[in-house]
Amino acid sequence: MLKLEWIDYLIMGVYFLFVLGIGWVLKKHMKNASAFLEAGRSMPAWVAGLAFISTNLGALEVMGMSGSGLKYGMLTTHFYWIGAIPAMIFLALFMMPFYYGSKARSVPEFLKLRYDEKTRGLNAILFAVMTILASGISMYALALLMNSVLGWDFNMSLWASAAIVLAYTYLGGLSSAIYNEVLQFFIIVIGLLPLVILSLMDVGGWGGLKEHLATPGVLPAGFAPDTWTTMWSHTGKATGNPMGVEWYGILFGLGFVLSFGYWCTNFLIVQRAMAAESKAAAIKVPLIGALPKMFIPFLIIVPGIVALVLLKDPASGFTLPVNEVGQPKYDYTIIALLQHYLPTGVLGLGITALLASFMSGMAGNVSAFNTVWTYDIYQSYIRPATNDKEADGKHYLTVGRVTTIVGVLLSIAAAYIAGKFGNIMDFLQTIFSMINAPLFAVIFLGMFWKRTTGHAAFVGLLGGFIIALLHHGLTIPHGANTMFKGGWIGVIHEYPVEMAQNFWTAIYAFSSSVILTVGLTYLTKQKKSDEELKGLVYSLTPRENVYVKEWYNKPVVLAAIVGIVCTVLTIMFW
């Protein structure tokens, strides 16, 4: 058990005061629904950009990715460089102009403007359910971690962390979530920094780490000695790397379908860019976010790789708890490392960093849920807007506030369900992850092909999802022992590992969605006129020549810098 001293609690306490203080200061600005749910579209690009990346850096991401560092080594970096950067550049240059320019307040609302009501409804409801589940699962994971490592009471951790997030999102809405995400971003980076420095010092730097990993017996049998420190070198054959995927599976599954599906359509992420103060700022948001994103692997994956060396060296005294079947609990990697290296003082800072990552992820979920519920479900189906704009603004502000409370309570309920039926929650999360790939297909076709019709989009969205379900039901990863992992219809194919199955599920979902949408578009009539589609479709939107004075503010220049740095990093760790 990890013992914290008064100084560690003092750091945590100061952090809580600042988080709540930011919410308190913003309270007086919350005059209508737009201020509360859209941050009044007033965020500077750098603030929204850091929030963009911070909300993605939730507790599950930090815990999961450092665990994956131990499990897969530098291959995990595929989730960052190939699996995020190209999609972020694409979102910035090609999609943000339409998301922002359409004046849509959410991704489902964009679907309504571009297609029709039923497409919006389907997406809004699935998104709302998925967001609550995701926030419940991460809340459960955090409370469990705090319980088993710090000995804090499970219920207390759960309710207290939820109460703090509720307090600052209730007070300041999306603005409060965004400003706090910026603060949290810096705490996560600075709080985990000593871990990177000390763990690398311990093994003798990157070169020393490579040598340690090459020692026989450290890596699982059958892998080349540099498998854990390279990204692409061993992806020629699925059996050559621990992820069990070939390079083309990574390139298309992760690099294209999964990453574009996540970064370009997930409202949780896109909402940050939509809150920017201008279209030019909105375009810059994902690019500014991409800069720190590229370096996060060094912060959380590299220490995870060091953990593998420590784990194999009995003299280090480093251990991970094991589960019922004797496998290490990979999610505990980061906290076990904090415990191993950090003395009282910076230890409090490290724990605060974990709490901050949890809060940034959860506040993101809550604020996105809020907006989708209030605008896309409540305003569309329960109480439509009236002619009185001012009264409406007040009314939907109240609804947004109440939704914040209800959303947090539902998340808490989901956390308890996750504790009781962990398998079912994992299963549901797998299922909901299947909506992203078809959603990307439909939004992409909608933005770049003016012919795409609403009926086709609806069927494409639903059909892609059903194909993904069928694929999951008909295939199974090697060694899976529950039907939650797949094969619940019958097994016609076996994948070497679960990740390969996920990649291929997404590829099937995306391809079938494209085929269905394109095919049906030719069979159905376009009901929207060109005038209605202006600002929503590439070919119907007049080019604006925005003159940007400073070279470093030009989106193309920023995108090129991001692209070059990412390429250099990839070559360095090839």
């Binding site: 100061v14 952090y15 603005s175 000593p194 000390l198 003082g345």
Partner: protein, 69 residues
């Protein structure tokens, strides 16, 4: 939206910096405490880094305000 986020960030890290540096200074002789961190007094190091970062953020705010006066 009426809030310069650099102010709370600057203040918070300055406070963290002072607390952690002082703690590192007073526990300098405690070798047992710093066994974990490879005998490096990581508290003083991180404390100074945070203090510098915090002051830098506050300076940015000050510099941004000046031209308007």
């Amino acid at each position: 939206m009426g809030l310069d986020i650099r102010i709370p960030i600057g203040l918070m890290f300055s406070i963290f910096g002072v607390i952690i540096t002082l703690y590192g200074f007073f526990t300098k002789a405690n070798t047992e405490l710093y066994n974990r961190s490879l005998h490096v007094n990581i508290n003083i190091w991180m404390g100074v880094i945070m203090l510098v970062f915090g002051i830098f953020m506050l300076l940015l705010v000050k510099l941004a305000k000046k031209p308007k006066e």
